[in-house]
C-alpha cells in the first residue's frame, strides 16, 4: 500500500502507460515545461522527453483533433484539456468527430483516446471556471465518461481507460487532487460500469459521482448520528457506461432515492437516473425521488454565494429530513 493523493495516483497511471507502450504520448497546454496546470504531469517531460510529453499551443480544437487523428492512425494519445470549461472550444472535435467516427465509418475507424480534464467548482474561480460538464458528455453515444472520486478509483479507472478502444473522457475534480488514500501497490483495475457502494445502509439510497461523493458521505454520517438512519451511498464512478443494476438493487432495498450532483439541476445527469428509477422500481418507492444539484445560476465568485449554490452536506440532510420525514 502507498498513501497517495489523487494527483499522485493519476500520475502513477500516466507513467505506467508511458512506460508500457511507446505508442502512448501526452499532449496538452502547459503539461511539460510548466508541469501541468494542476501539477499532475510534473516532471514527466524530464523523464520521457519532448517526443512523448508535448506542450501545445492554446488551441483546444486542434489539440483534441490531433489526438483523434493520431488515435485513428494507431497511436494511444492521452490528451489533457486544462479544464472542462475550455473543452467547450473543442466540442466539435469531441462530439462531432471523436464520438462519431466508429459509427459513421461502420467500425473502420477506432479512436482509442483518453481525454483527461479537470471538472468542478468550489475554488472561487467564478462562472467560466467552475463548471461540471461530465453529465452532458455522458449523454453522447460514442463517448465513455469516467469521474473518479478517490485516488484508488482514479488509478484503477485510469488503467481501464487505457484499454478502451473508444474515446474516454476522464474528468478529475479539481478539489480532489490533494485527497489521500491507501492505494494497493500490486496491480489492480476497476472496470467501467461498476458503481461502488461506499457505505451500506437500509433506509435511503444516495447516488452521486465525482466531488459530490464526499459530501454525500459526510451527510450520511450526520444522518446516522442525528437520526439513527442509515444511508447507502453509491458512487457511480463511470456515468457511461452506467451501473444501473446497483442503483436499482439498492433502491429496491431502501425504498428511497436521492440523486446528488454538482452541476445545474436543469438537464443534470441525475434526471436520467431518477427517470430510470421510477420506471424500474416504482412499486418499491416510499416517497419521491429527490434530486439535489447546484442552483440554476452561473457560478458566483463570492465565497458565501458560491457555497450557496453547490450542494452541501447541510442541504442534503435538510432535503432528506423534509422529504422523508425522518
Amino acid at each position: 500500500m502507498s498513501n497517495l493523493t489523487l494527483r499522485e495516483s493519476i500520475k502513477t497511471g500516466l507513467i505506467e502507460a508511458l512506460e508500457s507502450d511507446t505508442k502512448v504520448f501526452l499532449m496538452g497546454e502547459d503539461i511539460g515545461d510548466y508541469n501541468g496546470a494542476y501539477a499532475v504531469t510534473a516532471g514527466l517531460l524530464k523523464k520521457f522527453g519532448p517526443k512523448r510529453i508535448i506542450d501545445t499551443p492554446i488551441s483546444e480544437s486542434v489539440i483534441l483533433g490531433t489526438g483523434i487523428g493520431a488515435a485513428a492512425a494507431g497511436l494511444r494519445p492521452i490528451v489533457e484539456i486544462m479544464t472542462i470549461n475550455f473543452l467547450l472550444l473543442a466540442f466539435d472535435q469531441l462530439i462531432n468527430h471523436a464520438a462519431k467516427l466508429r459509427y459513421m465509418s461502420n467500425g473502420q475507424i477506432e479512436v482509442p483516446l483518453v481525454l483527461r480534464t479537470v471538472t468542478g467548482g468550489g475554488a472561487q474561480l467564478g462562472a467560466t471556471h467552475s463548471q461540471s460538464f461530465e453529465g452532458w458528455l455522458a449523454a453522447v453515444p460514442g463517448l465513455k465518461v469516467v469521474c473518479p472520486s478517490t485516488p484508488k478509483d482514479a488509478l484503477g479507472l485510469f488503467r481501464t481507460s487505457m484499454k478502451q478502444k473508444d474515446p474516454v473522457v476522464f474528468a478529475e475534480h479539481a478539489l480532489l487532487y490533494g485527497v489521500k488514500e491507501e492505494v494497493p501497490d500490486e496491480f489492480f483495475e476497476i472496470p467501467f460500469g461498476k458503481a461502488n457502494i461506499k457505505r451500506s445502509g437500509d433506509s435511503i439510497t444516495i447516488i452521486s459521482y465525482s466531488g459530490m461523493v464526499r459530501t454525500c458521505m459526510a451527510a450520511s454520517e450526520i444522518i446516522s448520528k442525528d437520526f439513527n438512519v442509515e444511508c447507502e451511498v453509491i458512487d457511480l464512478r463511470t456515468l457511461r457506461p452506467l451501473d444501473f443494476e446497483t442503483i436499482i438493487k439498492s433502491v429496491k432495498k431502501t425504498g428511497r432515492a436521492v440523486v446528488v450532483e454538482e452541476t445545474w439541476k436543469t438537464g443534470g445527469f441525475g434526471a436520467n437516473i431518477s427517470e430510470s428509477i421510477q420506471l424500474e422500481a416504482f412499486d418499491y418507492l416510499d416517497g419521491p425521488i429527490i434530486r439535489i444539484a447546484s442552483e440554476d445560476v452561473p457560478a458566483p465568485y463570492n465565497r458565501k454565494l458560491e457555497l450557496g449554490t453547490i450542494p452541501s452536506e447541510e442541504k442534503i440532510v435538510a432535503a432528506i429530513k423534509q422529504n422523508f420525514s425522518i
Binding site: 499551443p57 488551441s59 483534441l64 490531433t66 483523434i68 487523428g69 462531432n96
Partner: protein, 320 residues
Amino acid sequence: MDQSKTIKLYQDMLLLRRFEEETGRLYMEGDIRGFCHLYIGEEAIAVGSISCLSEKDYIITHYRDHGHALARGINPKNIMSELMGKSDGTSAGKGGSMHIFDVSKRFMGGHAIVGGQLPIACGLGFASKYQEENSIVLCFLGDGAVNEGEFHESMNLASLWKLPILFCLENNLYGMGTHVNKTRSSGKDIYKIADSYKIPSMQIDGMDVLEVQKATQQSIEKIRSGEGPVFLEAMCYRFRGHSMADPSSYRKSQEVVEWQKNDPIIKLEKFLSNQKIIDQQKILKIKESVDSEIFDCIEFAKNSPDPKIESLLENVYQNE
C-alpha cells in the same frame, strides 16, 4: 510523361463526372436522399492530386467527397451503395454521401462539419511523423472552411510541428451561396494566408489536371523531405449547385457558362487528341467503358439490401 498515365487521368475524371451526373439523376428520382454535394467541374483537383499519392498516404476531406473517394480507387459500387444507404455501402448505410470512409485505402472520411477535418489531418500527420512512416496527409478543404477557427489552429500547429500535410484548398468561389469576396477580409487569394504561418503556398489552376498533378508532385517532394506542410489553392468552380437542394439564386447562369468553357475534362481531351495520344475512337471507347462501369455500379447498389435493423446499435462502441 507516360502517355498511359495521362490517359488514366482522363478516364478517372470521366468516371467522376459520369458518377456524379448519375448521382444527381438518382437523387431526383429519390434513390439517394439527405444532403448530397456533387463534384462536377472540380474533377481535375481530386484526380490530379490523388494520382501523386502512394498507398501509405492518407486522404481526409470534406462532405463533397465522392470525387476524392473515386479518385482514390474506392470501388464505385460501394460508394454508390453508401449513397443509397445500402448494406454494401462503404459504411453499410451508416455514413451517407457526406461520410465516405475506406480505411483500407487510408481514406479517412468525408467530414461534414466545415473545417472539422483539419485538426484530424494534423493528428494523422502527427502519427506518421511519430512513427517515422513518411506517409503524407492530403487534406482537402473548401474556401468556406478557411474562416473557421479550426482552420487557423490547424495551420499553426501543422507548421509549428512540421507535420507532413498537403492542404489542398478547393476554391470554387462560393461557400454555399456566399461569394468569397463577401467572406474574406483579405480578398479571394486565400493562399496568401499561408504566409503568416510560414507555410509555402501556391495558387494553381484547378481546372487543369496536369497543372494540379505537377504542383502536387512538387509539394509532396517537399513534404516528404521533412520540411513540413504545403498549401495549394486550386481555383475552380462547381458547375452544379452547392447541394441537390440549392436554389442557385446567388449566381448568374452566364457565370456558370463562362466557367464551363474551362471544363477540365474537355481541356484534357483536347490536349490528348492534339498531342495525338488518343484518337476519337479511343475516346469513344473510354466513354463507353466508363458508362458501363457506372451502370453496373448503379445496378449493384440498387440490388444491395438495406442494412438489417439489428445493425442500428452496432459500432457505437467496440463490441463488448
